[in-house]
Amino acid sequence: MATSPKLDAKIPEGPLQEKWTRYRSTVPLVNPANKRNLEIIVVGTGLAGASAAASLAELGYKVKAFCFQDSARRAHSIAAQGGINAAKNYQNDGDSVYRLFYDTIKGGDYRAREANVYRLAEVSANIIDQCVAQGVPFAREYGGYLSNRSFGGTQVQRTFYAAGQTGQQLLLGAYSALMRQVALGQVQMFARHEMLNIVLIDGKARGIIARNLITGELERHFGHAVILASGGYGNVFYLSTNAMGSNATAIWKAHKKGAFFGNPCFTQIHPTCIPVSGDHQSKLTLMSESLRNDGRIWVPKKLEDAKAIREGRLNPNDIKEEDRDYYLERRYPAFGNLVPRDVASRAAKERCDAGYGVNATGEAVFLDFAYNLKYKYGMMEANRLGIKNPTEQQLKELGRPIVEEKYGNLFDMYKQITGVDPYENPMMIYPAVHYTMGGLWVDYNLMTTVPGLYALGEANFSDHGANRLGASALMQGLADGYFIIPYTIGAYLSNEIRTKPISTNHEAFVQAENEVKDQINRLMSIKGKHTVDHFHKRLGKIMWNKCGMSRNAKGLQEAIQEIRSLREEFWKDVKVPGTDKEFNPELEKAGRVADFLELAELMCIDALHRNESCGGHFREEYQTEDGEALRDDANFSYVAAWEFKELGNWELHKEELKFENIKVAQRSYK
């Protein structure tokens, strides 16, 4: 297999450990006086976008930052709960840059680019330094030092956290850095603006068309370079843990203008979410993976017990220990409840499909804290207080405050949503769409196949392969924004110092704006019978059933047809109320769903072409005898980068993945 000539990853020469250092020492620079004349557009203000916008502004570039929310602080990075990984080895437990690199490549089922991942692991430590300096209140030990915990797919403790609100604290750090630059006049902030098209001049990205969501006016913005940090596309499934507004429009418009889409079918299904409660459901809520540190996952061993629980005749607390199937501990003794997300999700699905599901819909398993609450924390406290032979009740009372301190906010949230107290009863959880590893294809510089167009964070495909490890999304977003793009963008902009700002009256701007106008006019003029949500929900069902946790060729072929006809129906029958010259959330949604309806097809095409199982992509036809994912390294050790030709027609380009520093093996957590 050879890499397509259209895909030059621009990986620096030299040994893996030296690539980034060498690159930084040799990359062309832009002098400070020239930086002042260079304008950069950043779309999205999550961890990647906010950190990039702030860092580039600190360097002296003129930055324009855009977000569709009412404030940059609301980007969905804020909802990340568990933590952020960094190879600090503060715990003296054998962590290193190489080990973080190794865990990430292995966790991603050997479908990520070595050089990018190694660089990620290298800068991970700097992120923690930067965030602490910004005043991010990470959890600490009594001695004042930073505290760590463990996450799935690793055997060291390298996750830094701030209770169950790590994403929030990190984002507020990046947001405050961004606000500082806004105050200094280095960044112009455009909140409640949505990017609806990209402007190319002579093949280079030169600006965007954005809609002012309050007035409905379309605006043209010029930039010497454009950075997309607009997040993932999990909302293609309608129900996901993403925010309601999370969307693919920015990257999809870029894709249609020439940016290749990498591995679109790689979606992560998070194992621990609150199960669906009914048709009215608008989103799914995640329960942090950190809960798997102390929660044990199980279903009843006996089918009749599972049935009795489903029908409400049996209380799970009454099931005897020997009648419980701790299936993760049984199948994966080495990692137990802390296997990676894809493995945990599939195992839950396997048990539920076999009839052991424990809620009314049959799609839930237990996440139980009783054991560790009593015998780990309760016993610890009893020993500390010198209580001999404590009773069960005593252990429960002693352990509770410790569990409360660790997971209190998550437990409260669970109770709020379900009405069930997780201190008394085991939680019920089920996998849900959470993250998309796929995204715009980028090279080592994080540049897409369109010159001057960059993709950062979840919006690119780069670091997580076919499955992302917990607490690595925050790491990647901030690595891209704080420590990578400030260097790599120089490689491009050093050749742009003679480019004067281009007038937004340029015909390319006019044309791009007209494309947007046309789409809006089309949407407004259909005046059909069904709401946008109606179509979105139907799309979600197709995707969840046929391109979700497990996929097969037949289902995917059907899905492609179903998506095409749903798309056709959408463009004939959608109903968008109001006008386009006002604040109109329905129109915003309609544009986003229109893009999902196209992206969904590409996801299915990608899933169909990848005749192997790897990470989050599980093809039923390709599994081992005991139901594990069966990779095909001989034929599929590549990144699938799709080039948009026309709707329904994509050309596949392959970037071969070479593993020179890691031995490719069957991924095992047993």
Binding site: I128, R180, I417, E582
Partner: protein, 249 residues
């Protein structure tokens, strides 16, 4: 469940606005409050009417975007909960629920229940940060923070910037929001260097934005979905007094 909704409708900033009454017959107690609004909007659209515009995004209580004043209280009847996490099981069959936007001169209504909270961003711009450029930080464990202070700083930093404190306060004061940020940095060694200027600038900006004054009623703390403590306001007062008295400007 059957629910009667009285919802504030206002076409845009200039419009005077009025209440509209809607009936919903099929409300499930498991729905979140916003999911009930989804149902209402679906119904309005299918009847050829304008749906209600309201802010929302993460729907898991952390982004701070949702902002409804429900039956006379921001985020509704429960404590420590945002509108998106409020579920219909907190209401009774047959209830009438009055829903209004946040009311504050500093938060003008954009449409229906959507308000403009950019004043908060401008307050943060006035000093809600530590001036550290990317790349200049030293090793994280070189800065030690007593656990107690780190925990307190975290509790203050947990503010989601939703504005419920302003909505709840009879004076539409933003003291709790500002105090949370001032406190977070005042409690940490990293925040010491800009400590004085920060509080002076942020308070000045807060006043300029047109928020009212604090009269210590405690409504903000009671309604804050993240339970940010009044202790932070006292700390900010302290910070302000010290900074103002010792300032050389």
């Amino acid at each position: 469940m059957k629910i009667t909704l009285k919802v504030w409708r206002q076409k845009n900033k200039q419009d005077a606005g009025h209440f509209e009454t809607y009936q919903l017959d099929n409300v499930s107690p498991d729905m979140s409050f916003l999911e009930m609004f989804d149902v209402l909007n679906e119904k309005l659209i299918s009847e050829g009417k304008e749906p209600v515009a309201f802010d929302h995004d993460c729907r898991e209580g952390i982004c701070g975007m949702c902002s409804m004043y429900i039956n006379g209280r921001p985020h509704g009847p429960l404590r420590g909960v945002t509108t998106c996490q409020l579920h219909m099981r907190s209401f009774k069959d047959g209830d009438t629920i009055v829903v209004e936007p946040w009311r504050s001169t500093a938060f003008p209504v954009i449409k229906d229940l959507t308000v403009d909270r950019s004043a908060f961003d401008r307050i943060i711009q006035a000093g809600g940060y530590i001036s550290v450029n990317t790349g200049s930080a030293r090793d994280a464990n070189n800065i030690l923070v007593p656990k107690e202070n780190a925990d307190k700083a975290f509790l203050a930093a947990a503010c989601i910037g939703c504005g419920a404190c302003v909505a709840a306060c009879k004076n539409a004061s933003a003291m709790l929001f500002v105090a949370a940020k001032v406190s977070q940095f005042a409690l940490l060694p990293q925040g010491q260097i800009e400590r004085k200027q920060r509080v002076l600038n942020m308070v000045k900006k807060m006043d300029e934005e047109g928020f009212g004054n604090c009269t210590n009623t405690g409504a903000c703390e009671a309604e804050c979905p993240k339970g940010i403590s009044l202790e932070n306001i006292a700390r900010m007062n302290r910070e302000y007094i010290c900074a103002a008295l010792t300032s050389e400007k």
